[in-house]
Structures are given as structure tokens and as C-alpha cells.
Symmetry: C3
């Protein structure tokens, strides 16, 4: 592992991440990608430590990814799923967290349908003067830092597999397409990708854009929110995709339909679904990302999703384990000292 | 680990536990508390052994506590939850247990809504001449031995952290408050705490006291059930709390309300909920315990629960892992010989 | 472990298994049975490899058996149960499998209610040029290879515990009784047992026989389907049981009743349930098997099930872990090269 100075105790949001921190994660992840290419994909780093996956919102892929990352670092894991929990017995979320703290957990990976829950738990853990770290695995429509970090790693390591680093994104054009309004993935990606110096273009139907952003859109349908961070909002997909190096599509929850935010899935696909034809607007070697699970034929056409020339979707999942190993490692071995 | 002679094969009930056995558990638990304070909280004692958590009644905290205890002893664990089991396929509980026996499990940790299930399984395992141990993790309204043992350890180690032992409780006054009638925790605690020579005072509304006990209550609302074991029953909280060294509150199942055993949660809290004001009746350095999960503002006031000067609730959870390590160790390494 | 040449990458069906392959599995299983008789029942063979149990159909015993087998080979395990999965989020089964592939799983153990799903996943994994192996843990009414292999091992090791091998079954008479129509267990057993040179007799009410088979039944109620493979179909239990060395009963799903395939469980038991009286038709030292879970008093009488002189049901469960260790070992260490 590279020697990095890592001081952050919890990972809750990317809002205040520094370039140094991004680079520490990218570099550590690259080391773990190398470990994962060996025959024995396991290291003893976190032996004897306990990683508790507290998933108050059901999840299979993110939970499995964190569980596997923890096991490959030789940590013990505990899984908590709210369905079978004492949440139904009237206990508060903080009390549940304190119980796992008292049991001796070292790292809590927390997912919850409400924004702010991981922050609240981290604050309480700190108040108790304890050494437990909290890792936000998705909270409501707030943030999903590990997803954005694996997106960042996937993109950077396409550009330079040997030495992925934040600076590689300078002046790249990246489009995020789809349900920005409800996406914690987008919210985290906006922080990391604008921090990299990339030009970030969001495209969505007006009903799926945050009001804050929508208001900024000017007559030509474009807006620069911030002088330093290059963030642009579009209502027309073509404007966002023009000359893009990377296109990130977002999952569309089918319940948006019944909430009358969308006319039909078919119309959505026609206007905002990514297809080979629409990729013609982008740079020739454009790559497509999606956080998964994908609604084939809605956010992206089925054949494009499976085309390794364009799709990075499988690489994202693979990077996910390595990024989460890096996060657990940086947090957990900080504790070691 | 201290060298103790341990002969008990199953842990089903505390009814016939001897002071020697209690002290073996207290002493072994203290050793594991020390292990848990090290950086690497794991010992190889039960490597290659399999601990199966057969939870026919849902539970998160007890199951997690046993799972963590097993993993810290390097055992492999299997989790069984009845919801996804073949119980719905018409198999008997004994057949399920025999299946796990045949798979080669070494220790079965069993929770069931019906009293006596762990005993029945243990009897069947013995009949088959097998070396599997059964650990009762709560059966109906019968017993919950590991909870009572962690309560015992928590109390003893407050009095003497270096050498917690049964004798420390001699002449201490301990109150158990709340739904005694439905509490397997109380039933186990009655055995362990009266065995210690402590004076045990139970307080509950008449509808939440076992009929057997209620009949014993004399005109002044007090009863000594047994000449040797000092057990007293009270209908008035103040009588139970007067000069108490420890107050143990019990969880109140909210379904007791709908069963017309209680007028309202608010009235219950006013009469039997533990608050700072009511602690004035106790000794000045009184400590409060609760098996969790707590209904804040019902069994205990929210601020008191969080006050480390009085509340031992977090210590109980921490002791829980160490006590369960001790139980698995004493049972499992007995097997080793 | 014996040195065997093993080339099969997936285990999906027994249809094309060779005697050499059967014997490799029997021999490897015998070695693991020996490991399981030691104090430390664990070997480091698959350390660092990941076995994912993808159970799209709920199961406790088969999943636990595979999980334990994997852990005893020191593999890391991931459990996936469809209830909490993103299947409900619109992802296809192949996409789910590809996600676990991308996470770096080495072996996928797959159960699904639809026949052919493990094959489809294996084909997709091969198409992606990947090194992941697929193990069919039961697919619809198609096959359940590991169950048939544990049945084979159980039978062979009764005849020669030291050197169980396929040839031991030559000229033995084996009866399979019950719901052949819906049984993936029977379908796998038909392949393995006829491959052994045993005479295989199927007995079931006409409504629970595959149409293909039923048509072959001649006037005397007997049919030889295949010149080389000795397979006979009977409508009368007595004809199947006469002089049998082994009787395998199949689980009867109670929902067959409501589908009007059976008059009543009681009548079924009277006609096809195995009892001591009916065993008089068999060879004196006949043994009875059942894949479990058993409906006591339906497929088999309760006392017979528990009689170790006749019942091999517990041995089957024990063999199950060793057979699954053998399968994971043969597949997994093939990968090692």
C-alpha cells in the first residue's frame, strides 16, 4: 500500500473532500486492484476488526460489495437488515447504532432511506468519544460517496490505468443524464467530478431536475452555477452530450411514472435514453457509466449496455470492491495507529 | 484463560447453576473483556468449530452478539432465520435441529417463541448420543440465561472490575421492575441474583406479576417467597426501590396494552417508569440496567437512559459479547478434551 | 486429496457425467469425510476464493450445506436471497449474475424456480470469457445434481465405506418412490443411478409420473425405457419394491393436493408411503433415503424415518457437506492451475 496521510474519520459526504483525499483514495484503490488480480485476493490488514453493515434500506449489490471488501481485508462482518430488526420494536436508530458500538464494531456502513441518518449517527458516535467510523452507503436523496468514488476511479483508470489521479479529468467533458432530482449518486458525483476540473453537464427533463438548478437555466437552456466549478444544466440531451468524453446515466425509479413526473418509459427512453445513435453527439471514444441496477431499454439501450467498447458498467462493479477496500483500509488502519 | 473445571454440556436454564459455575463464567468473561480491549480482539480457540444460530423467533441484537462472540473465537457461523426456512415446509423443529447436527454443527444457539424448545432439542441431541451443545438464547416466557449472566457480570464488575465474583452481591439490594409476568429475562435473573445472596425485590402492577407470586403478597404488599433465597414482591415501586443498589427495568411489549393489561403507556411510566426523581428512593450510587431494546420514556426516562452516571445499558451490551464468548468457550473447549 | 484429473468447469446436470467423473467425486468426498472426522474440520484449499450463494428460490438446508462446505474449505461466502434483492428493481437474472462476476466471485451456487437458469448463467459467463464456475443447486423441475451425488455417495459408502465407487452399484436394485413428475431430485438421480449399472425402478401414481414415462408402461405396468440403462416404471409400489436394496422416497409438496393430483395425504401414504410392513417386500437389509425435509407420516412413517437400522436420512445430510466440499474443491482447484 502507498503511504498516505489520511485523517478523515468518517466518510459521509464528498462536499468537503480535498484533491489530496481524492488522490489518496484513487492511489490506494489502484493498489487493491492489483491485489485483486492475484490468485489470493486477500490481505490481513483488518484482521480482528468488525465491519457492521447496517442497512435500514434493503440493498443487495452495495451490501455485497462492502461485505466482500471487508472480507478481503480479513475483517469480520455483521449484517443487519431492518426487516428482521428491533426497529419494529420501538428502538430509535441511534440506539441501534449505539448497540453495535457497544458490541465493539469498528466501522459501521450505513444505508437509510432518510437523508442525514449516517451524519446523525456519526455525530452521536463522536459525542460518545468513541473510535467507531461511519461510512455512508447511501442516505435518502442526499449522497452515496462510495458510488461516486468508484465512478471517479473507473473514469480515471480508463485514462491512465497505471496511475489514476484526479488531474486526469481536467478539461474532460462529462454528462450526467436522467433523474438528477432523486439521485444521491448524482449529488455525490457533482462534488467529485467538479473538484477534478472536469466540465460537468447535467441533462434531465425539468420535472427531474432540482428546482434550485432548474431556476438557473437561462434562455438557451444552459447555466453555469459556479464560477470555479464548471457545472452546466440542460433540458436537451444533445447539448449535454455534445463532445462528451463520458456519459453517466442514472437509474430511473419506475415509481416516478405513477407520481406523474414522466409521461411514459418509452417517451423517456426516446428523449433521454442513451443509444448508439445519440452517442454520435459525443467524442468518438466516449464511455458510458450507470450505477446499476439498469432498467434495460429505459436509461440505456440493451445492446449498448452490453457492448464492452462503450460500456463501463461491469468495470464500475469491479472498481466498487477495490474502492470500498480502500475506504475501509484508510479509515481502519488510521485507527490502527 | 483461567483453568476451570467445566462439566455442563448445554446451557438451558439457570435453575440449577452452582456458585462455582457462576464464578467460572464471571472469571472467564473477565479474561475475554481483557482480550476485547486489545487491538486484535480475536483468539483461535474455536477454529474449525461451527456455531449455528437457529433463531425461530426474529432477533437482531442477541443474534449479532452471539455471532460476533463466535467469530471472535474464530468459529465458523451459520445463521438460520425461520422466515426463510423449511419450517413452512412441514418439517418439525427437531428435524431441523437434527439436520444441523448431521451437517456437523458443534454448538446450536436456539431462540424460539415457545418455552422448552431448547430443552427438547438438547434431550434429542443427547438421545442421539451426540456431542452437540445447545445454548438457550431465549425460549418463550421461560428463560434467557445468557442475558441474566451478562446482567450478573455487569453488576459484579461494577463492584470489582478486577475480580468480578458472585460473593460481591451478598447483601446488595436489587430491584427488578416491570412486566415480570412475560419476562424470560426476569425468570433467569431471579435464579442468578438470588443465588448470589442478594436481596431481590420485584415490582410490577398486579396484572404483570405471575399469579404464583401475586398470591404470596401479604397485606403490606410484601412477601418472602423462600427462606433461603431472599425474594420479595411489591405492588408499589417505592417499596422495591428503597435503598436499592441496582435497578433492573424490563422491556414492556406494547401489545400488553391491547391485551388490556395496562391502562396506558403514560400511566405505566408514571407508576413504574424509572426517572431521576424515583432514583432518590435508592442508594446514592444506584445503577440502572435494561435488557434492551428500550422504549424511551416508557420503562425509563430518556435522559436517565443516556446518563453514564446511572445507566449501565451500554455496558450490558459490551458484557454480552464477552459473556457469550465465555459460554461458547467453556462449552466448546470442554468438547476439545 | 487424491490426484484426479478434473476438467468440468460447471456442474449443471448429470446427463453427460462419465463414470470417471462420478468416481472422482466419490473418491474426493471420501477424503473430505475423513477430514470432517478430525477435530479441526477445516482445510485452507480455497482461501481467498469467493463462493456466492445466489438463491432466487428460498432454501435453508441446501444453502447452509453449501455455505458450510465453502467455509470448511476456507473460502469466503456471500449470500444472496431474492427477497431482499434488486430483482424487484427490474434487473434481469443475467445482470445480477454479471454483477457478482464483476465483484470477483469465483463460484456461483445457483438455485431458481425455473429450469435452465443455471445453464443460462453458465453460458453467459463463458461468453464473457470468464473463469467463474456455476453450480446448479436446483432449478425448477429440471435437476439437482449435488443432491443426487450425495445420494450416490451415501449408497456407495454403505456398501464399501473405505472405497466408495460407482461399480459397487452394479446389479443393485434401487426404487424411487413418489412425486417423480415434479422432482428435480429424481431427474438427477435417474442419470447417476442408471449410469452405475443399477436397476432403477420408479413408482408413483399416474398423475405424478411424467407423461413420457407413463406412456411406456406396458400391460403389466412395467416398462424398460432404454436397452442399456435399466429403468423401469411402475404404478404399483410392490412391483418397484420387490427385492430392492435401496428405497428412495421423494418429498411430496402439499400443494399437489389442491391441484387435484392426489385424493388425500392419507390415501397417498396408504398406497405409496414407506412403512415397515412395505419394506418386507424388499431385501432384508434394505435402506431408505429421503432428500428432506420429510413430511412425517406421508412419504414415510415417522418411526421408520427415525430408525437407524433402515434410515439413511441423517447420513445423507452429513454426506451433503462432504460432497459439496468435493464439488467446490474439484471446480475451484482446477481454477488454481
Amino acid at each position: 500500500m502507498p503511504t498516505t496521510t489520511w485523517n478523515r474519520h468518517h466518510i459521509l459526504s464528498l462536499a468537503d473532500f480535498t484533491p489530496t483525499e481524492y488522490n489518496a483514495i484513487l492511489q490506494t484503490t489502484a493498489s487493491f486492484q492489483e491485489v485483486l488480480s492475484r490468485r489470493t485476493k486477500k490481505v490481513p490488514t483488518l484482521q480482528g476488526q468488525v465491519v457492521a453493515n447496517l442497512f435500514f434500506e434493503p440493498s443487495t449489490r452495495t451490501r455485497s460489495s462492502f461485505e466482500l471488501a471487508a472480507k478481503r481485508l480479513s475483517a469480520d462482518t455483521l449484517n443487519f437488515a431492518s426487516a428482521t430488526s428491533s426497529m419494529t420494536k420501538g428502538e430509535t436508530i441511534l440506539d441501534t447504532a449505539k448497540t453495535y458500538l457497544a458490541m465493539g464494531c469498528d466501522i459501521m456502513v450505513i444505508r437509510h432511506t432518510c437523508a442525514g441518518v449516517p451524519n446523525a449517527i456519526a455525530t452521536e458516535m463522536d459525542r460518545l468519544g468513541e473510535r467507531v467510523s461511519v461510512l455512508n452507503a447511501g442516505d435518502g436523496q442526499h449522497e452515496h460517496p462510495s458510488q461516486a468514488l468508484l465512478d471517479l476511479f473507473t473514469i480515471c483508470s480508463i485514462i491512465d490505468p497505471v496511475n489514476p489521479r484526479l488531474e486526469l479529468l481536467k478539461d474532460k467533458k462529462i454528462a450526467i443524464v436522467g433523474d438528477i432530482l432523486h439521485s444521491r449518486v448524482a449529488r455525490s458525483n457533482i462534488w467529485s467530478l467538479t473538484a477534478s476540473g472536469a466540465e460537468l453537464h447535467l441533462a434531465a427533463p425539468p420535472t427531474l431536475l432540482p428546482k434550485l438548478f432548474a431556476d438557473y437555466v437561462n434562455d438557451s437552456g444552459v447555466s453555469e452555477l459556479n464560477g470555479k466549478r464548471k457545472l452546466f444544466i440542460h433540458w436537451r440531451l444533445e447539448d449535454a452530450l455534445r463532445d462528451a468524453d463520458f456519459v453517466m446515466t442514472l437509474r430511473l425509479q419506475k415509481e416516478r411514472m405513477t407520481a406523474h413526473l414522466l409521461p411514459s418509459l418509452r417517451e423517456y427512453h426516446q428523449m433521454f435514453g442513451i443509444t448508439r445513435a445519440k452517442l454520435d453527439w459525443c467524442k468518438p471514444n466516449v464511455k458510458v457509466l450507470h450505477p446499476g441496477p439498469v432498467n434495460r431499454g429505459v436509461e440505456i439501450s440493451s445492446d449498448l449496455m452490453d457492448d464492452p467498447e462503450f460500456s463501463l458498467i461491469q468495470s464500475q462493479v469491479t472498481s466498487g470492491v477495490a474502492v470500498r477496500m480502500a475506504l475501509l483500509y484508510l479509515i481502519g488502519s488510521g485507527k490502527a495507529v
